[in-house]
């Protein structure tokens, strides 16, 4: 119980840290909305020309755009969450402080990132989606159960995203500078999450591959759950399996990194 309260407190802190930057949040909402508008008009042109591309009709395609903008920050497709801070702490040696605390490194950062994700869902997600729903013809369900199913998929997506970024950050233990790896992860995130274009649209083998990669848990999976175009148990299982595998990998790397620090020094 005591442990649960600690990580709950960490999550609350993670939420509040982002909540303090109100102007940044407002600017971000504006950016997401503008970006959503650009994508929406591209998609309209695309689906006018190729109806039912990727199995979506135009309303579904537009829903995809606005849901993607709403989720962009929540699942931190382009990074910019805790990992920058963790990389910095590893680089400067502040990680030593984290290591002597009576708390688990991975759980600590997961809790913090969960708090951040919740803030971004409310602060950065709701407004762009409402804007899209107001000015475009979207195919959003009214059934609250569909929305609950969607939130579960989002939560799983957040964990997958966290686990990926945790691995990226830990590279800094060996590389001393995590910027390069973070940049690679950034590109992979944009391309493979389905943020720019639904993964259903990707042709042939490329499509098969990107849909099987963990990044498809971030945007593609939750959106399909909401639109009712996903096999629910299969999607959850897919996300949960990636989450478990990546978290386990993170744990392995963490213990190797800790051993390295403990034996070799900071």
């Amino acid at each position: 119980m005591g442990t649960g309260r600690l990580y709950a407190a960490v999550a609350v802190g993670g939420f509040r840290r982002y909540a303090t930057y109100r102007i940044a949040t407002a600017a971000g909402v504006f950016t997401n909305t503008v970006f959503g508008l650009i994508l929406a008009y591209i998609f309209i042109a695309l689906w006018d020309d190729r109806p039912h591309l990727g199995g979506y009709d135009q309303a579904q395609a537009l829903s995809y755009v606005w849901l993607g903008q709403a989720l962009l920050m929540v699942v931190a497709v382009m990074g910019g969450g805790f990992e920058d801070e963790l990389i910095e702490r590893i680089r400067t040696g502040d990680i030593a402080i984290d290591l002597y605390r009576p708390a688990d490194l991975q759980l600590w950062w997961l809790a913090q990132d969960a708090g951040r994700a919740l803030f971004h869902l409310l602060g950065r997600g709701v407004v762009p989606l409402a804007f899209g729903a107001l000015f475009f013809d979207l195919a959003l369900p009214v059934d609250p159960l569909a929305w609950i199913a969607f939130l579960v998929a989002v939560a799983l997506g957040v964990v997958v995203s966290f686990a990926l970024r945790f691995l990226v950050a830990l590279c800094a233990f060996w590389l001393l500078d995590g910027a390069g790896v973070a940049q690679l992860a950034w590109i992979a995130g944009i391309f493979c999450s389905g943020m720019l274009l639904p993964l259903n649209v990707f042709p042939g083998v490329l499509g098969e591959v990107v849909r099987a990669l963990p990044w498809s848990s971030l945007i593609q999976a939750p959106v399909d759950v909401l639109l009712g175009t996903a096999d629910l148990p299969r999607t959850y299982l897919f996300q949960a399996a990636w989450a478990a595998a990546l978290l386990a990998a993170g744990r392995l790397v963490q213990s190797a990194a800790t051993r390295r620090v403990v034996v070799q020094g900071g």
């Binding site: 509040r16 303090t20 009576p102």
Partner: protein
Amino acid sequence: MDNEDADLILLDRVEKVFEVRRRTGFLRAERRQVRAVDSLSFSVRRGEMVGYIGPNGAGKSTTVKMLTGILTPSGGRLRVAGIDPSRERTRLARRIGVVFGQRTTLWWDLPLIDSYRLMHRMYRIPDGRYRENLDRCVELLDLGDLLDVPVRQLSLGQRMRGDIAAALLHDPEVLYLDEPTIGLDVISKARVREFLRDLNAERGTTVLLTTHDLTDIEQLCRRVMVIDHGRLVYDGSPAGLHEVGESERTLVVDLERELPPIEAEPARVVKVEGPRQWLAFPASESAAPLVARIAARYPLVDLSVREPDIEAVISRMYAGRAVS
């Protein structure tokens, strides 16, 4: 059996060897062993306040890191409160407090109080005791107006006081302080020192203090240990340090014009730069008659006296030891 009550910290021939790889060519690396701590033995009794000093790279931080369990010793035996730190880091963490002067444990973007609430949960401090300790720290470290201020807006001195409070909320038996007064102004330094003195006197908290500021040691500690090249080279009173080290003060004089090196026993000129000259003289000598003699014989414009710094004392001490 460890006699926990007598020796809270115990090191017995502790060693730490790092392997450093240096690139000597394309794909070729040379492995070299660096002995950061070399057969180090000492003990600290419960309730002691000990200064732990040495030049940069002497092995101070390595020792503190081994005492917290962040680093595993390569050899020897190490116990803190009867616990082997590297084996039971988490259990030990609940009984020790650590302040790294150049790092912060506080949550950068959030008000100070949020970090304390986190400590409350992390160390599972009973509510009553948390409140009591927080109130006490707030009062003695004058944090009342700062609790709702985000840490990033605090000055260095305020942040340091905040960090010290954070390290003490769980009533640690031992407090390691690594450069707690670095970068602080005179008033902040005095306040931190006063707090530490009270903490040690009233609560009996054992304190191990590493610093570059000799004044910290002289005002706080009755015992000081000096480490150099990973070995203990002095263990005794701060006053004895000057005697052993034959430390020197420096008199900096500005003359009206460039002159050959001044002659003024027992001082000797160590550096000349235009009209400015640096003279070294034993710390045990008074500066006044020396200044009077120089002023009588040379066209003196300005002067200042510099106290011996710890690096100089130690390096002289180490050099002296090697000769004798």
